[in-house]
Symmetry: C2
Subunit: 539 residues, 2 copies
């Protein structure tokens, strides 16, 4: 067979060639803009040509610090298209983390959203490698800034060539992108994506049995473009010629509901907190969401009650998926097998709330002390993954040797596997609660709380305990209308029938908000810190 | 990213692991048999182990001479699974072609269906490399045969290990399979498939925008397993865990209709002559075909009238696809773009009867003397293809240098491209009719004839002509009930409004049957030979 390499540039070329009239709808500070793939293609080539003039060479890192919009999409293809490396930086990281990863990745140019310039200014003195700042703004003038040298994105584009040719003769194993993990468990770790990995992942994303992403879809990635490549959506959606709706800065549930309604979105993806917010919004307003054929939810466990609400109340098919920054990220998707299609609603919900079946192309193993766990839905073990879109190490990082061993990625996620081969995550290794020598899964307890009508969010963490080593404590946020009207005791009684007695939390702490990570996951580290003396004081 | 290779063995491993209970339904001489993927997996490993004992080593060719059934499927995975090369031999080739390709491929072992043994016996004295014959029979005893040494498939399996491990550390570019073209235009040419090519092709086959093959499908490949890997279906269907229905020997339209009805087939694939036969059968009998969600049709142009009958009369979605043995084979699929979905029925049929849009992962170019043709649906040129599942040469064959140039496959197919990037094949370069310096497309004329109620099949070929060099002559087979009731003149008048006058055939020849190739395509070479003096005598 021909040894044509799999390249990221070729994904956009397909859209330019076969879907030139299809659109990318982009919301920026100045409103909604519409670009065809033909225009996106030309603008991307102009950007690559501009970056070249600024001295970007093969293998150099180009950082982005931006929301989801068309310019960010252009950077997604311009950097790999010219043989450089796209480094998407999480705009919600602390200033220390921002300068840490920019220096660690050795970014040479930074593409920054106008409204995010202050966040970069406050760290800029720490930067060791950045040679130029490009500001992505709709305006003709640049904002006042201390960044230097500084360029206007649109001005650079105007001065550059729309005919720039993407590199062809690259090794498909060359780096195309990089991203640092969301730092739920510690300092961010850098993951490098190859052209091959991104293209194979895009194939996997379009399979009928995974996300089935199609040209006929109108795709709205709520997941930020700095969070594991927006789960690969910009690459796959461009390749397939899907319409894209990029929601831009300062995004609210209301805006999400409106965009779905107005743009007839068929496919959207994001973390559970987003969907909890959307549910809330749908209850308040009156929106037409009938165009939606798939909500992809990952990043944290999707609560069963939430899935039920979407599927039964709003008739929106819900797709629970699992992945990591280290896995490009799609690793499992929950779908019914043919012989499960006729099951009862509750059984179907049980399946849908699991993380699902391994995506074609990957290998998995769940191991505990005694080797591989039994596929009985009971025995827990750490999930190991292998395959061509799984990282083989962290970028220049000591921690590689812990997570990457014997050719496998040790995910740090604890799972059971049922008879169907479907995995269910019970916790992160760090979040499991060890009570008197036995494991308690915080995820199961959280799901039980969140199925109570009064509960908006719940997170269960391990709190040190003299006698039992650790005991679970539940942190609960009540819905507005239930505040002050529900007691701890009621909640504990509500979940009690589902668990052995010793699993029940020792306490329920009501909160205004659960602290979250930069991408909207429950930040259990913070809760554990906050509650570390909770049971000592109480005893 | 990890450098795990893409291997054919891993496709079956996924079915064994995640779909052990799903079934392969196999029809053999003794009736219908059902095997789970767990059983198929064990039997495949036993076969690999048996082949190893017979001396098969990495890179050796294992020939199959068989219908579509479970044992053939086992060979599909056993040979590549052990690092050997599966060579599927077309059972309908002439004895000369059979010994030519067996010697050319240097097959070491042949796996032969019981009822096909006589076809091998008549050529066996020519074989130079075959060291063992394995007979695939349901019976305990072997049939009487002059082949030697000869083994019973089931007996070998019983004596071998179900735990054989597939090779892991192979180069994904190593050969996994090979197949010779159907010899429509001359001697068969050998194509070698790599592991990488087969796996990438399987990804492409599962995309929502191509065939969307899924675990939930019940797949019946009518296309023979010796014809371009049954278009990749056995690989992809096994990988995704789809139910497979393998129709076995001496297959009729009646049997096809019955299997679709009884096994609730959702997905089937084959050449147009098969579907013409099925249409005929559906009109006679009473079958429930409501389970079908997709008929994939390729290998020759699908007549518009036939597509219309399936889509409007039987409500069976019809998918016209194009490919070659050299392209593993899927290259284009005809689907509507989002903005075409609301078009009128006739416009939709126009799109559906074209060969379609290039599959993600490939590149194309249509060239005429003046470079790339305009995408206007008018200008004709030769179709060139490139990509990771396109062959880069014929196996040890002089003809490679004609077909493979500057990194492209010259398909020998003449196409137009419309504004949407959709290709329409107008002819093979060899079949185009050159009349007075202008090209006439035989395919368009054939389609016009076949849309007449009385016409069962029509083929238009170039016949030498003194004044015009070549002129078109139509060969027409009438449906039973119309025989003797329709005149040449009527048919010519029927098609006349659609064409310029000089396109109209000089004559219509009624025939009992149109000669076909080994895989059911019109054999225009034979027609041209037969008619070469037709216009000379007439003038
Ligand atoms: N569907 C899901 N259900 C439960 N947990 C999930 C799901 N999808 C992802 N996760 C969790 O998210 C993790 C991957 O997240 P990501 O790569 O964004 O960074 P992180 O692990 O949160 O941060 P860090 O690795 O820096 O601590 C997984 O390892 C898993 O713990
Ligand atoms: N959908 C289609 N419409 C029209 N023609 C098609 C279609 N699909 C395939 N073909 C024709 O079939 C050819 C590929 O067929 P295959 O590889 O089986 O061998 P062949 O070309 O018929 O034989 P040989 O190359 O030995 O002469 C294509 O090159 C094309 O001419
Ligand atoms: Mg992590
Ligand atoms: Mg051919």
């Amino acid at each position: 067979m021909m040894n044509t390499p799999l390249t990221v540039g070729s994904l956009l070329e397909r859209a330019e060639k076969f879907f030139p009239k299809k659109q990318v709808v982009s919301r920026t500070l100045s409103g909604i803009h519409r670009f065809t793939y033909k225009e996106i293609g030309e603008r991307t080539r102009r950007l690559a040509s501009a970056l070249e003039k600024l001295g970007i060479e093969k293998g150099d890192r180009v950082g982005t610090f931006a929301w989801n919009h068309h310019r960010h999409l252009e950077a997604y293809f311009a950097a790999p298209g010219m043989g450089a490396v796209l480094h998407t930086i999480n705009i919600r990281l602390s200033p220390e983390h921002v300068s840490y990863i920019i220096n660690h990745a050795e970014d040479k140019v930074l593409l920054i959203d106008e409204d995010l310039v202050p966040l970069i200014e406050r760290s800029k003195d720490q930067f060791k490698t950045v040679e130029a700042y490009i500001i992505m703004t709709d305006k003709d003038e640049l904002p006042e800034t201390t960044l230097e040298p500084v360029y206007s994105y649109e001005k650079l584009l105007r001065e550059s060539s729309p005919k720039f040719e993407f590199v062809k003769n690259i090794d498909e194993n060359d780096p195309a992108g990089m991203c640092y993990t969301s730092a739920t468990t510690g300092n961010p770790k850098g993951v490098v994506y190859s052209h091959r990995g991104i293209v194979l992942h895009s194939f996997a994303f379009g399979l009928a049995d995974t996300a089935a992403l199609s040209e006929t879809d109108v795709v709205l990635p709520v997941v930020p473009m700095f969070h594991a490549n927006a789960w690969g959506l910009p690459f796959a959606a461009t390749w397939f010629g899907s319409t894209q709706v990029l929601p831009g800065p300062l995004f609210t549930p209301k805006l999400l509901a409106e965009l779905i309604d107005q743009e007839k979105v068929t496919f959207t993806a994001g973390v559970p907190t987003i969907w909890l917010g959307l549910l809330n919004e749908l209850e308040k307003g009156s929106y037409n969401t009938s165009s939606l054929r798939s909500i992809v939810c990952g990043g944290s466990a999707a609560p069963r009650g939430m899935i039920k609400a979407f599927e039964t109340k709003y008739k929106i098919p819900f797709l629970h998926a699992y992945g990591m920054t280290e896995t490009t990220p799609l690793a499992t998707v929950s779908r019914l097998k043919r012989y499960q299609i006729g099951l009862e609603e509750e059984e179907i919900l049980d399946i849908r709330s699991k993380q699902g079946l391994l995506v074609p192309g990957l290998e998995m193993k769940v191991i505990s002390g005694n080797g591989e766990v039994k596929w009985d839905g009971e025995e827990m073990g750490e999930l190991l993954l292998r395959g061509p879109w799984i990282a083989d190490g962290y970028y220049k990082d000591e921690r590689s040797k812990d997570a990457f061993r014997d050719g496998w990625l040790y995910t740090g996620d604890v799972a059971t596997v049922d008879e169907e081969g479907v995995i269910k995550l019970v916790d992160r290794t760090n979040d499991l609660i060890k009570s008197g020598g036995e494991w308690i899964s915080s995820v199961d307890l959280e799901n039980a709380f969140m199925s109570h009508d009064a509960v908006f969010e719940a997170s269960v963490v391990a709190v040190p305990h003299e006698q039992w080593q650790e005991r679970p404590v539940a942190c609960v946020v009540l819905k507005e209308q239930y505040k002050g009207k529900v007691t701890k005791q009621e909640l504990l009684e509500f979940i009690a029938p589902q668990f052995a007695k010793w699993w029940l939390p020792d306490d329920v702490v009501f909160m205004e908000e659960i602290p979250k990570t930069s991408v909207g996951k429950f930040l259990k580290r913070a809760l554990r810190d906050q509650l570390k003396d909770h049971l000592v004081q109480n005893s």
